[in-house]
């Protein structure tokens, strides 16, 4: 069977399963609370897997994912509020019409978030090192300040009246698409170049990889996917508030990725589900909930610092770059110094001798 045919069949099966589950869920056979958590997990998966592309596979440290999510959420929400109803009406007003509207909103949200990624990425990814972390952190804050002050989208009061057209089907369709896209990128020549950048940026450059361009491309793709995640959220509750895109949200996504394991897609999926379900599962503990939640995270990070499914080496590559560098420098110095050590020793010895004699003189003078 040719490959594309096999892929097509798999895609159809996935679609059928998603649609079937969607049908079951809408028939309210399962508690809406449970479905809500499931759907939030789906949004979290989209965000975590997309962040993993840049933090886990490319080795660039972005901590402003919620900012791109906000761009996607607000731009698509604005589109849906302003044009959604009209567009759906012209298209017939049925379920399918709204599906087309939502698809358009998703494309718009992802495009704006990708554009924001380009604006943030181009200046900060030209540099090597941790500059991206600082810039993305700032970007996340700036977006929130902006949203708080733009009256058209509700400002600090929040943006309400967004058509609620989200369903299990859509959320998981986007989640599956994100996983498939990231998986394919990672297993392509482009992905190998990204991993090479993570492992050793200078060496990747020496192989002929235009590292800046590749980093920016990965970053834009990742941002656009975060934007799509934002679109899902905007049409989920029908209400957006700038507060939900603050730094803590970026951090939450980052924890999902690190907890699941940098450079592991399955890990990100697990991390996203775990971090969405855990706070809910701990509700029984009432006021101790967040304490237990934090404790569990700490214990997990102590026992498995590389994350649930992360490869140890990927983790080291990301965290230990500075350590590695200093080690090679140390090697160099020892290799260099062995033959010079004799003379150096003599020199220091001489110094010491003169020092002691000086001190002796001092004491004599007293």
């Amino acid at each position: 069977m040719p490959r594309y045919l096999r892929n097509l069949i798999i895609a159809l099966i996935v679609l059928a399963v998603l649609y079937g589950l969607d049908f079951v869920f809408q028939a309210r056979m399962i508690s809406p609370y449970f479905i809500r958590i499931l759907m939030l997990s789906g949004i979290a998966i989209t965000l975590a897997v997309s962040l993993n592309l840049i933090n886990g596979f490319t080795g660039q440290f972005s901590i402003g994912h919620a900012g791109f999510m906000a761009v996607g959420a607000y731009s698509s929400a604005y589109f849906s509020v302003t044009y959604g109803a009209n567009l759906a009406a012209t298209l017939g007003g049925g379920k399918l019409a709204w599906a087309i509207c939502l698809a358009a909103a998703t494309i718009i949200g992802a495009a704006f978030a990708g554009l924001a990624g380009l604006v943030v990425g181009v200046p900060s990814l030209r540099l090597k090192g941790d500059y991206l972390a600082i810039v993305t952190l700032g970007f996340g804050q700036i977006i929130v300040v902006f949203l708080n002050n733009i009256e058209v989208v509700g400002g600090a009061r929040g943006y309400s009246g967004i058509p609620i057209v989200q369903s299990f089907f859509w959320i998981f369709l986007i989640a599956v698409l994100t996983i498939v896209v990231v998986y394919n990128i990672v297993h392509s020549a482009f992905g190998r170049a990204l991993i090479a950048i993570r492992e050793d940026e200078l060496a990747a450059e020496a192989m002929g990889v235009n590292t800046t361009r590749y980093k920016v491309m990965a970053f834009v793709i990742s941002s656009a996917m975060a934007g799509a995640g934002g679109v899902l959220l905007a049409h989920f509750d029908g209400y957006l508030n700038p507060k939900s895109f603050e730094f803590i949200k970026s951090f939450e996504i980052l924890i999902m990725v690190i907890l699941g394991g940098l450079g592991s897609i399955v890990g990100s999926v697990l991390g996203a589900i775990l971090l969405t379900v855990l706070p809910e599962a701990l509700r029984g503990f009432a006021e101790y909930r967040m304490v237990i939640y934090s404790l569990l995270l700490i214990i997990l990070m102590i026992t498995r610092p590389q994350g649930l499914l992360g490869s140890t080496a990927a983790f080291r590559g990301w965290r230990g770059r500075r350590r590695k560098k200093s080690r090679t420098e140390a090697e160099e110095i020892t290799a260099e110094d062995t033959r010079d050590s004799a003379s150096v020793d003599k020199a220091t010895l001489g110094e010491r001798q003169s020092e002691t004699s000086l001190r002796e003189k001092d004491s004599k003078n007293k």
Binding site: A189, R192, A193, I195, A196, R198, E199, D200, L202, A203, A204, E205, A206, M207, G208, V209, N210, T211, G263, S311, A313, A314, R316, G317, K325, T328, E331, E332, I333, A335, E336, R339
Partner: protein, 234 residues
Amino acid sequence: MLKLENVSVNYGAIEALTGISMHVKEGEVVTLIGANGAGKTTTLRTITGLLEPRQGRVVFEGQDISGTPTHKLVARGISMSPEGRGVFANLSVRENLQMGAYLNKDKKKVAADMERAFTMFKRLKERESQKAGTLSGGEQQMLAIGRALMSNPRLLLLDEPSLGLAPLVVHTIFEAIDEIRGKGTTILLVEQNAHAALGHSDRAYVLETGRIVMEGPSKELAADPRIKEAYLGE
């Protein structure tokens, strides 16, 4: 083939290279020796476009390449094995070599080049699907050199290939350098191990605090009393 014309490079206010002039002719192995901080790595970084000269220029095959981004040099025929080896630890040996041929879209040619790398370094063949990070230092260095050769460079830049390796392994690496030279690739070798570098090169430059203080055929330099005292420890 490669020419540095009166190149000066600064790190901020500190002058790292002061009016360096040197050249590498086609088919030659030229070595650049010097102590730590003499400017060896700075010189290589200038050639590979990581640093831009404040004065002077770098010429490769008649064209000014000063400040050309590193990744564009591969297409022009310059390949580098970076200092500290820089293998992609999480990719397999095979994938590392594939990265070396990143710009080559001809799969058959890449496969042939890979076979050549495996014939040159038989140890790599044994470890083909192993992650590069699990290799020994010497094997990683072989991989770094093999990878640099995958782009079929006309000029190969080797930065400290003997760094941190056992004497026996250093010997193997230098034998490989001889073999690469035998196949007609021009090599610029930056080394601290002056003894090995002078024994396996045609000409040498000696760098001291950013200036070239001596140059000439490697054999003559190896016999020079000043070199013997300062670099060969005799």
